[in-house]
């Protein structure tokens, strides 16, 4: 069963890190829903928040392969944890004087704000969960969206602890009760290359 997983990854703040991560994910055939990267409280470290759409076993493979990259310092699968995962959207809306008030009300309901007003358009900004942003965009569509920019999720786990659990595969508990099987999505067939 395929589901969205949210990975919080601390990486060395070095040139090429983004390419290494993206290249690994592409090469192994994982699908990224969103990826955001930015600085942290430590200037030598950046945080990547990666949303991938994969099955459970594939998610484990993706995190293990990520963990192997030398520039990846720690990786945490925070899917389903009590986390705050927010993204930001900027929407340029068609906003003729007659419809403006209605639009502004909608933005208000989503606790967004208007950050630019021009003769026939406005730019609205909303932050929140991916679901909330999806809803907002759906409701705005009938008014005529002229342009849209989404940041992708950034996330932190709630509570006093800086992180709940750092995945440490070298020392993890891998016991399972399953029998040998092809990983989800893998060709069960023999490749037959020579």
């Amino acid at each position: 069963m395929s589901q969205s997983r949210l990975l919080s990854v601390l990486v060395e703040n070095k040139p090429g890190v983004l390419q290494r991560v993206a290249s690994m994910i592409r090469r192994r055939g994982f699908n990224i829903d969103s990826l955001s990267v930015g600085p942290t409280e430590d200037e030598t470290v950046s945080r990547m928040t990666i949303a991938v759409h994969v099955g459970r076993q594939q998610a484990e493979q993706a995190t293990k392969q990520l963990a192997k990259l030398v520039d990846v310092i720690t990786i945490d699968d925070i899917t389903g944890l009590r986390n705050v995962a927010h993204e930001l959207v900027l929407l340029r809306m068609h906003a003729p004087p007659g419809e403006r008030t209605e639009l502004l009300n909608m933005v208000e309901i989503f606790r967004g704000r208007v950050v630019d007003v021009a003769a026939s358009t406005i730019i609205a900004e909303v932050t929140g969960s991916t679901e909330k942003i999806d809803n907002f965009i759906d409701l705005m569509r009938p008014y005529g969206i002229k342009e849209l920019a989404r940041s992708g999720a950034v996330a932190l786990v709630r509570g006093d602890q800086a992180r709940i659990r750092v995945l440490d595969f070298a020392n993890g508990d891998d016991d399972r009760g399953a029998v040998p099987q092809a990983p989800a999505g893998a060709a069960g067939d023999q490749m037959g290359n020579v």
């Binding site: 040139p15 690994m24 030398v70 440490d168 399953a178 040998p180 092809a182 893998a186 069960g188 023999q190």
Partner: protein, 570 residues
């Protein structure tokens, strides 16, 4: 008082000198390389370091494979290759990929255009970091001369730690010339992302020992992880202690003595029938240091169907559960895991099981049939192995020659059999064998290859002759791309397409042109004498054997079929 640093100031050296100083401190004695505009400062200083033997290869790919052969055959060492920017560096790609797939520690140092020219499409500039990203364990672009020493230190650490692999350092030309104070980084290299595996969990070890005690039909399969960890002795101990038959992957070949009563053979696609039968009947399968790829499993649902417990031991956590999902896994190197496990295992023998395995051995021997009186490849290999005295290091290239050489490897004790198992790189063995011989000057080295793979890197004959690298090269010449020809005959409707190699050079004349002793025969009765003559000759020898052009690899599992559908020689 004058501070110590002022009394003994760190010497001021160029980036190139610092790199060479660091290589010496990493234990490097041999570099395979090729010069060009972007690494000439390294070459300017190289002659001042006679401890570093530089071997001028004739193509950078040959240099990468030679560094690989050096590292595989001198375990614990790291192979080193130099190349210039652009075309030089890009010529390394196949060699890096080969080392990456087979977990071989090498460090490649490539020249790069000056930092000020990077990104301008300067002459011979290419994005080497980008081009090699998916075939290296890690890579570095040096951006400050002050980083040279620490980068080299870390690169060697990454190459040899955990699951080994190739590391590339891209070294801009201006930084090779820039001067700074040199002090060698003290203490071990530290990487905050690297967590050494904890000692194996005692509870898991006890559980594995218990599974061994309870198993009625146990089998061990192992791969190159055992070779890398030098765990041959421990493997033998465990097998004998608990009476467990042992089979191996192509890359595990050689590490367990074929003549041992508990030896199975290679497993899988072109493995021995009796190994496949044992794996399919096993109730407990212990996999050690292997990836379990499609060459091992054949059709995945046919792999070990009767298994009740699958144990997987590997140093790389990402291998656990990648292709098959184990019931118990240990993230550890093979040697550590086995050393901890052995004291917990009770001596035992499942006689019924061992008798059944022995019956399969008799029913499905690895064999060949000579139908037509033409020279068979196995006849050549039997004569060669008879002259290995359980001591020679044997390399094989890719194709039929590789599988024949693997299946006929027959030592009474663990030996080294090296080949490109993961990428299947044709042209690997001949250049790699230079590295093997230079790392093991006192051992006999045989390089088995097809004529197709040999010509892919035959330019290295010049390197062999120039450096008098004493390797005996056995060309199994079937005048075709044999393995592909066999696939076309059996799996692609019998249409032979682009596999004819009857237009291949006269290898005796070719040897002559390069100044390399060369001999050729098509007759069975010449084989032994030719090998003896080659061994008596000091220096490299090329031996061409014109073999039966229709000789095939058996057993083989037809494409898309399962482990027990193997077809045998008839």
């Amino acid at each position: 008082m004058i501070p110590a640093a002022e009394l003994h100031p760190a010497p001021r050296l160029t980036g190139a000198q610092i790199a060479l100083e660091c290589l010496i401190r990493e234990g490097v004695d041999t570099i395979f390389g090729y010069p060009g505009g972007a690494n000439l400062w390294l070459y300017r200083w190289l002659p001042e370091y006679p401890q570093l033997r530089h071997v001028l290869v004739r193509h950078e790919q040959g240099g990468a494979h030679a560094a690989d052969g050096y590292a595989r055959s001198k375990r614990g060492s790291v192979g080193v290759v130099f190349a210039t920017s652009g075309p030089g560096a890009l010529n390394l790609v196949t060699g890096l990929a080969t080392a990456y797939m087979d977990s071989v520690p090498i460090v490649a140092i490539t020249g790069q255009v000056p930092t000020t020219a990077i990104g301008t499409d300067a002459f011979q500039e290419s994005d080497v970091i980008g081009s090699t990203m998916s075939v290296v364990k890690h890579s570095y672009l040096i951006t400050r001369v002050d980083d040279v020493a620490a980068t080299i230190r870390e690169a060697f650490h990454v190459a040899r730690t955990g699951r080994p692999g190739p590391v590339l350092i891209d070294f801009p030309k201006d930084l090779q010339a820039a001067v700074t104070a040199f002090s060698y980084p003290e203490g071990p290299a530290r990487l905050r992302s690297f967590r050494a595996p904890a000692p194996p969990d005692p509870a898991k070890l006890r559980r594995i020992a218990q599974l061994i005690r309870e198993a009625k039909r146990p089998v061990i399969l192992f791969g190159r992880g055992v070779v890398i960890a030098q765990a041959e002795e421990e493997l033998m101990q465990l097998a004998h202690l608990a009476g467990i038959p042992v089979g191996w992957t192509l890359l595990g070949t050689g590490a367990f003595p074929v003549n041992d009563p508990l030896a199975l053979q290679m497993v899988g696609f072109m493995g021995a029938g009796y190994t496949n039968k044992a794996v399919c009947a096993a109730d407990l399968l212990i996999m050690i240091g292997m990836r379990c790829d499609d060459r091992v499993t054949t059709r995945i649902d046919s792999f070990a169907p009767d298994i009740e417990h699958l144990v997987h031991i590997d140093i790389d956590p990402a291998e656990i559960g990648k292709n098959v999902v184990p019931h118990i896994s240990l993230v550890a190197d093979a040697r550590t895991a086995l050393r901890e496990l052995i004291p917990l295992v009770e001596p035992k023998r499942e006689h019924t099981w061992l008798t059944r395995v022995d019956q399969w051995k008799e029913e499905h021997p690895v064999r060949f049939v000579n139908h037509n009186g033409l020279l068979q490849p196995q006849e050549v290999l039997q004569e060669m192995y008879a002259r290995c005295h359980d001591e020679a290091i044997v390399l094989a290239d890719v194709g039929q020659n590789q599988i024949w050489a693997a299946l006929w490897f027959s030592y009474g004790r663990p030996g080294l059999f090296l080949n490109s198992g993961g990428t299947g790189t044709m042209g690997y063995a001949f250049p790699a064998s230079m590295g093997v011989k230079l790392a093991n000057p006192d051992r006999t080295v045989f390089c088995v290859t097809g004529e197709g793979g040999f010509v892919m890197n035959m330019q290295e004959m010049a390197t062999f002759v120039e450096n008098d690298i004493d390797v005996k090269v056995i060309i199994l010449n079937n005048a075709s791309l044999g393995m592909v020809r066999q696939f076309q005959d059996d799996f692609y409707e019998g249409v032979r397409s682009a596999v004819d190699l009857s237009f291949t050079p006269d290898f005796v004349k070719l040897g002559d042109a390069f100044g390399m002793k060369a001999m050729s025969t098509r007759r069975r009765e010449d084989v032994g004498a030719m090998l003896d003559e080659a061994l008596a000759h000091r220096g490299p020898v090329l031996l061409n054997f014109d073999i039966d052009p229709d000789a095939n690899v058996y057993p083989i599992v037809p494409l898309g079929k399962g482990m027990l559908d193997f077809v045998e020689a008839s």
